[in-house]
């Protein structure tokens, strides 16, 4: 596949430069160690700092969520590779105004390790650091995979809700322990499932990372172009989307009258027309169950390069989370 590219090794750095150029009102890019930080960081006195990050290729995550009401810094690694501990530590220290820092970490071995080390380094330097682990991907639930000693559920699109809620709480003056507790509450109230219709290709590589037959889809994929938990027959949207949605309802134990945040997320190459159509199927199913779609997010927010497909995330909402979700936010990818 052809892509806009110079040297494949430079794709992340060049894209970050472009991103920072386009959003200089919102962010500043620190080239080395590489992290993206709010342009107005520190201008508004002391508040809990919020840092997330992970491999690149998931844009607009996380750089697109740096700004007022959400992240203070995002730490991008190479494509599908965790950022290094030093990058994360530098970003953590940079956003610490003395009120402590909450790190939001998607559950992948590399991310967990490097964020943990970064937290220790920052703590050694006197920062109060709390971590929120996001692990919403139901496809990798030990109960379903039957692998209780494995790394546990992966972190996927629920991270957007965690970042939004923590960001709002931090902006409102919550302390580092409160912000982290809220983040953990969102993470534990969230489940996701994804299906791929076509695999992505790495920058500079011609071939997609896996091949699908004409009449099958890859069910339970993550966001790194890896294969999912199984192949299923391709089917109309009215059949595929319930296969993603119903298990989430079940896993969260959602019942008639419960309220949910519904995220229908494109995985990279899914056209808005397709996503809107998918969203219709998801919310019709929830309507039928009497579950209220209290809020929703529809778009490509957590991607896997140019993978075609979508993920569905449900987050159980209570009044607190709803209020924090509704609080103002001003970032490149999310503004209200």
């Amino acid at each position: 596949r052809r892509q806009f590219l110079n040297d494949p090794d430079d794709v992340v750095a060049e894209a970050l430069e472009g991103f920072a150029r386009a959003h200089s009102d919102l962010v500043r890019w620190n080239r080395d160690p590489s992290y993206v930080i709010r342009a107005d960081h520190g201008a508004h006195g002391s508040k809990v700092g919020l840092v997330s990050g992970g491999g690149s290729g998931h844009e607009p995550l996380h750089t697109g969520f740096v700004g007022r009401g959400m992240l203070d810094a995002a730490v991008p690694g190479q494509v599908f590779t965790s950022p290094t501990a030093l990058q994360v530590a530098a970003a953590t220290q940079a956003v610490d105004t003395g009120a402590g820092v909450v790190q939001i970490v998607k559950n992948y071995t590399g991310d967990v390790l490097n964020f943990r080390i970064a937290a220790e380094i920052a703590q050694d330097e006197g920062a109060r650091v709390q971590q929120v682990l996001v692990d919403d991907d139901l496809a990798t639930d030990p109960q379903l995979t039957g692998n209780p000693d494995g790394p546990g559920r992966r972190g996927t699109a629920a991270v957007v809700a965690v970042e939004k809620v923590c960001g709002a709480a931090a902006e409102a003056g919550a302390d580092v322990v409160e912000v982290a507790a809220l983040g953990r509450r969102v993470a534990s109230s969230a489940r996701s499932l994804a299906v791929a219709l076509e695999a992505p290709a790495h920058p500079g590589r011609d071939r997609p990372s896996f091949d699908l037959g004409e009449h099958e889809v890859e069910f339970g994929v993550g966001i790194h172009g890896e294969r999912g938990v199984g192949r299923r027959p391709f089917a109309p949207a009215a059949e595929l989307l319930p296969q993603l949605t119903a298990p989430l309802v079940e896993s969260l134990g959602l019942r008639r009258g419960d309220a949910a945040l519904v995220i229908v997320n494109g995985l990279g190459s899914t056209h808005p027309l397709q996503l809107s159509l998918a969203y219709r199927e998801v919310t019709r199913l929830l309507d039928g169950l009497g579950i209220t779609t209290a809020r929703s997010l529809l778009g490509s927010y957590v991607t896997a390069l140019d993978m075609t497909g979508c993920s569905v995330t449900l987050v159980r909402l209570d009044d607190d989370l709803l209020r924090l979700w509704d609080a103002p936010v001003r970032t490149a990818a999310l503004t209200w």
């Binding site: 690694g77 290094t84 030093l86 590399g110 080390i117």
Partner: protein, 207 residues
């Protein structure tokens, strides 16, 4: 004999050269049991460490280990952060001391393996670098307890690390990427453990 900053740098240079020369070997081992990037990751870490050593001109053993630790922490993958934290404990143990004896090195080695285990969760027998790190640290401490100086203590650590690395050949991995491939990796030595053995070997021979 004790270890001063020059000897620490020589130790380091020896290890770095070995990694540069034999990185393909490590990568090939990781290709069978993992994702085939360990040699590249390690070489990249060693180069970053060297750049920091040249830029920083450390004046103590502790500063040498700090530069090396940062070089590893500045590298991705699983080994970068784990080895980086391993060396960081050596740096902490040596902190503020102009020269260090074998007791200080033993403390660093023991704290190092403890940190790696705390972060990575691997036990001896899981077919990881811990299988070399743990016996080496224990051997080092035993040598110190028996009154050994740096060179002799390092020699003991090396022999224990090499035995530990060799023992991984027969193991089935329970941690790291090799744990995904199951029986396939049996019969292959763990490259991380091998690198630990090289590290102690160069500590024993550096002057």
């Amino acid at each position: 004999a004790v270890m001063d900053v020059d000897r620490a740098r020589n130790w380091w240079e020896g290890f770095a050269r070995e990694v540069e020369e034999r990185s393909e070997e490590l990568t090939e081992l990781d290709r069978i049991s993992g994702d085939g990037d360990f040699g590249t990751n390690l070489r990249s870490a060693v180069r970053k460490a060297r750049a920091r050593l040249e830029a920083g001109q450390p004046r103590t053993v502790g500063e040498v280990f700090t530069a090396v630790s940062l070089g590893f922490l500045d590298t991705g993958g699983t080994s970068g952060p784990l080895f980086g934290m391993f060396f960081r404990e050596f740096a902490k143990a040596c902190e503020g001391l102009p020269v260090v004896g074998s007791d200080v090195l033993a403390r660093g080695a023991l704290e190092g393996v403890r940190t790696v285990q705390r972060l990575g969760g691997a036990q001896v027998g899981d077919k990881t670098a811990v299988d070399a790190m743990a016996p080496a640290a224990e051997a080092l401490q035993r040598a110190v307890d028996a009154g050994a100086e740096v060179t002799a203590a390092m020699g003991a650590a090396y022999r224990a690390a090499a035995d530990g690395a060799r023992s991984t050949t027969a193991m089935r991995a329970r941690r790291g990427r090799a744990s995904y491939v199951g029986e396939v990796a049996r019969g292959v030595v763990d490259p991380g453990a091998l690198a630990v053995a090289w590290f102690y070997e160069r500590g024993a021979t550096a002057a």
